[in-house]
Symmetry: C2
């Protein structure tokens, strides 16, 4: 791959991608840095919770850290295990998402091996003390109750539940609940069920992204030594079946604001139009001159916050728009958002195109900057695209985009015509005209299961 035209002072070499004998894929990038960062992603998320055991992945992830033995058999309770992490001065991140659980650690280079071993201990040799479970399910319950105090978080959960209902035949609970589960699911969790669930977490479908100042072979050896014995695990894709044309309202008589969420089809990351769609999202919502920000906030003052972002579920990409408005202005806010989405079909201007591409180019440079960010990108690239996209490739991909190509794509892109809308606030909205479509007002509240809320 030609690299002469990439003005990066110290461009890293192409990142190697290995597969361990057990199946774990490892993407590595060497950097001159005193630190390290890794991001281990196992493809078991809240969507994989068994039906009736919603909250399993969330509680299990907490339970894993309640003590773990080291490889030589020395047992450590919760405090000793957490002390072992803290003794290294590492920072832990990650957590449970809809489709995966991530274990992210960063610290000083000399501690990489010890940090990898600690994560292996957690996954392979956890204590899983029964006595801790009631506390953990209780904390999850508190988190669920906290949702009621956070309208934006609650709306995000309800919007996903409305747009991605659970297929009736699926053994997986899917996308209809937050990582903390449901009150009923938490009630039904047992130590045995969670121990059985742990057998899913393994090398199959797993990805480790790693950045450190190491010889590649030394990096591979360190990973193999710590994680090579990780069980096989299971790699199941929970399909995301998008339901278009819904409007639903979540009644919150105490809310001051009306919060709006719109979900619409997007583009699959594996397909040919991914970068094109990223550029369109940037023109729509990527800066202070972007269409949504300008039309909703700057020109009309309809909403304090408005933005669009991509959502990846089940190997597909979806467009998600959020706005926080007032009850009186919510209908107009939604109409303006719909009009901006419908207007996309007529294409971007040349100035919008160049502006959005420049913004994406800058984002590529800054996105690769931090160790933690880069480790996360390595992992995400392998999980989503099946390989690591180098910075040079990303930049040449952006350079190859043309206004004509983007506008050809847009001519057939009608997100407004296939959107689903969920509102949360003190009053139900009337019928909403969204580009070419008029949607009837939503039901007064989202029932569970949500099927009855069809427009």
């Amino acid at each position: 791959m030609p690299s002469g035209h990439v003005p990066v002072s110290a461009r890293p070499p192409e990142p190697p991608l290995w597969t361990l004998p057990g199946g774990l894929r490892v993407a590595f990038e060497r950097r001159a840095t005193p630190g390290f960062a890794f991001d281990l992603r196992l493809p078991v998320g809240s969507a994989h919770d068994p039906v009736g055991l919603e909250g399993a992945a969330g509680v299990l992830e907490e339970w894993l850290f309640k003590g773990a033995a080291s490889r030589d058999g020395t047992r450590r309770d919760a405090r000793a295990l957490q002390g072992a992490f803290d003794d290294l001065g590492v920072r832990r991140g990650g957590g449970v998402g809809p489709e995966a659980t991530r274990f992210s650690v960063s610290g000083l280079g000399a501690d990489l091996g010890a940090a990898l071993h600690l994560v292996a201990d957690v996954l392979l040799r956890p204590e899983l003390p029964d006595a801790e479970l009631p506390t953990l399910t209780d904390l999850a319950r508190q988190d669920l109750e906290g949702l009621d105090d956070s309208p934006t978080d609650r709306l995000a959960v309800e919007a996903r539940r409305a747009a991605f209902p659970r297929p009736h035949a699926s053994p997986f609970a899917g996308f209809t609940h937050p990582a903390s589960g449901t009150p009923e699911g938490l009630e039904a969790l047992t130590p045995a069920a969670l121990r059985a669930h742990l057998s899913r977490y393994g090398q199959a479908g797993g990805v480790l992204g790693l950045v450190a100042d190491l010889d590649p072979q030394a990096a591979l050896d360190a990973v193999q030594e710590a994680l090579g014995e990780l069980r096989s695990g299971q790699d199941d894709l929970v399909p995301a079946q998008f339901r278009p044309g819904i409007t639903a309202h979540v009644d919150d008589p105490d809310a001051e604001q009306t919060h709006l969420s719109l979900t619409a089809p997007g583009v699959a990351p594996a397909g040919p139009h991914w970068l094109t769609w990223q550029l369109i999202l940037t023109a729509l919502s990527g800066g202070s001159a972007s269409r949504l920000f300008h039309a909703v906030r700057e020109e009309r003052g309809l909403a304090y916050a408005v933005g669009a972002s991509p959502v990846l579920l089940g190997g597909q990409g979806f467009l998600s728009v959020y706005a926080g408005s007032t009850p009186a202005r919510a209908p107009e806010t939604l109409e303006v958002i719909g009009a901006e989405l419908a207007r996309l079909q007529r294409g971007l201007t040349d100035a919008e195109f160049r502006r959005a591409r420049t913004g994406l180019e800058t984002g590529v440079v800054f996105g690769a900057e931090s160790l933690r960010g880069r480790a996360g990108s390595l992992t995400r690239d392998v999980a989503v695209f099946g390989r690591v996209r180098s910075l040079a490739e990303l930049r040449s991909g952006l350079a190859a985009l043309t206004l004509e190509g983007v506008n050809d794509f847009l001519a057939a892109y009608e997100p407004a015509a296939h959107a689903s809308i969920v509102t949360l606030g003190p009053v139900t909205l009337g019928p909403v005209t969204l580009g070419p479509v008029t949607l009837e007002p939503g039901a007064p509240a989202l029932p569970a299961p949500l099927e009855a809320a069809h427009a």
Copy 2:
């Protein structure tokens, strides 16, 4: 300064600190990077809002971006100005804090000069169109209404209002309102008052932190050319008069959770104990083995979220503790927090000391990693400490800490004895025993002004 013992692969040279003829201080760090980042901090924040015009800084900052002429006199409306920023592909950050307004921009190296000029245009040649003001005050009002939908944000505002009341003689509104102001203050804002307020924003007390791959002289020239003509401005410190021993309750009958905020004295950044106090905060709240996390969440499951952080106001440092609990568990949560604060006086263990120091050392390395983060650190260092603390200095400062020194400090540190507490939730708490002190229950709601809520 010796540097041989600092294991950083490409340690930057000591950052130069210049003062422009007009008074603006400029801290620069050269880095081999394709990007740049700067952070301009002017010492005018929401605390400087004139009494009766609460919201002035917040609305003015938005108004500044509603169009600005370039140096050659070409006028640009809001859209053209925002397009000019977006054309560069830069990312803008910053905003209005209690004590300062920040203008942060990052992008690709070649665009540094243009980005500096755009910020200069905004500060020196803004259009300030009268017709835009109603929209901006309306957005600020929406933001204030949104506070009611976010108990944690609302609690943060109320806690600061309770702990830092406005001195009656001060011309400044102080720390009793959020950046978006108050309904009355927004109502009273006029174009003339805001234009007069703009005269405060200038070089006096201002700091620009800049990271780029430039010769230092070239960096200085670029800054001087763009910002050298910035007006003098005003540099006033709004004193933070901490009021200890308060308990107050904000009634929120619809809240599911009870949110707790505790404010207590800390350590001034300019004093000799700053790093000691940072280490203590880390032992208290800096990791999963930290005292608060362990006692409140891990051991007792009292709160889903708990943490302590430093707050800098008026040149002083304060300890702020937050926990999100349930109405039934809130009293015990507060008692456990109080007991942990009181227990500090007996000192840290050697293991806690070493763990916290290692955590801070790692934080130093990762904190300097990103361009945006480093530009912000340069600015903050000059604003808070009057100079840039190099990484080597920070590391040797941490290495010089001893357990004995920390515990000597702790022997006289009694944050629980001088704390103020604000709760928000559906029920008032009973009397609270906080270490050696018993506080009576707070008034049922915080009146404005808050003087009547004394315990």
